[in-house]
Amino acid sequence: MSGRQKQFVGFSVLRLSALVVLLILVVILGDIVVKGAGVISWDFLTQAPTNGMTEGGIFPAVVGTFLVTLITAVIAVPLGIFAAIYLNEYAPKTKVTRLIRLSIRNLAGVPSVVFGLFGVALFVRLFGFGTSLIAAGATLGLLTLPVIITASEEALKTVPNSYREGALALGATKWQAIRTNVLPSALPGILTGVILGLARAAGETAPILFTGVAFYLPFLPDSIFSQFMALPYHLYILATQHHAIEQVRPLAYGTALVLITLVFSMNLFAIILRSYFRRKAVNSR
């Protein structure tokens, strides 16, 4: 084969791979949208499930997912960002630091069910939170931490050293330099990482399964120590555990569509945010 032919074959293989992936995505999304769209209505979003979850809406699950993600954010965002600042700005560049960093990266690859079991042992049992919003949120927080720390550290790394030195040479303290000069530049990257991490947390089932999510609750949680319903788990129930699976299938599709839309719009928001900041950075150059 000539060089040109090889190149053609190479390109075709790559293009085909991309197409296959795209096709799979389109089929899955298309299936969910087509079968789920019919179910979506104002009532579906604002009513509780009724009649043994064969009718009604998903309101408690929407609220539950929102609340548990909020708790996740409250726990994981400050902790993650501060940890990243410490690792990138303060920690001595030693073997121990490198080991810690490596461990955090590895933590990001631990299966979520392991986090779930860890959450049971730590938050539900040891801390005595019981199965609750706070236990589930904290567990999701642990799951999200490595993502936030890694993304934040990457964002901090892209801030030129001259911003730090310039501030220090004017008599700024280290923390002043970080707060006023480093963090603002790193913020877009940090926010993007935070949102992507939270979007992932919002869609997880395994970590909340043993730590707080309920099969069915006729009322909304009234404190952080209450159990709650959540979209991913509700979907799992409707799709595989319900006594009348065929009957509730449309509801399952509707739930899937809402969940996907939620995660998708969070990701979209992250992308928009990133490109907005990138354009702003280019314009100010």
Partner: protein, 253 residues
Amino acid sequence: MTQMAKIVTRNLNMYYSDFQALKNINLTIGEKEVTALIGPSGCGKSTFLRVLNRMNELIGDTRVEGKVYIDNQDIYGPKVDVVELRKRVGMVFQKPNPFPKSIYDNVAYGPRIHGLKDKQKLDELVEKSLKQAALWDEVKDRLNAPALGLSGGQQQRLCIARLLAVEPEVLLMDEPTSALDPISTMKIEELVKSLKERYTIVIVTHNMQQAARISDKTAFFLNGEVVEFNETEKMFTNPADQRTEDYITGRFG
């Protein structure tokens, strides 16, 4: 010219890990003098500057031996507040490094972190500093424009204004004109000459004419040592050391 000594180094050695970058430096830099540091690339000029405001400490694994006195205070002594020291001994970097903020916020940066909040005082200080740095006329109508939109020469003058706003006593300038066109260079040279009435200035330069034009004294560095330190006049007309003569006349380096 008999002036008060502002900066004194005694048997100063400086190491990056086990590489010795400065060897037994003994310099006395007078108050309100301009001292030029010249010498071939890698001879330790920037290192010396960074030792004077302890910026070298930001790089891990460095070590300083000997003494550095500023106003008779040993700046490596145990009770020295580094932040306070850097407020007094400010630095302009070789590469202009404006912050990604507006022109105004760049100049106001130092005063703000040092606690000045009064808007009117800030305005006055920003204007004064920009005027001192000979940049005011060019930017007075766009103080809120991003500093990164300025030309290289304007950026460097902005960095000087930013430093002046902190009102330090010593200005350390590391090749402030190396990336600039002749006109910007001339402006900065004028600036240095006018600033020396109020500041002690140590300036690194690769440009012999520049050193001759603006400095009172010149130190010639070679491989981490000071070969010769003298009145600039004398250094450029009648150097004491053969190596200085070779360097100044361009026979090596």
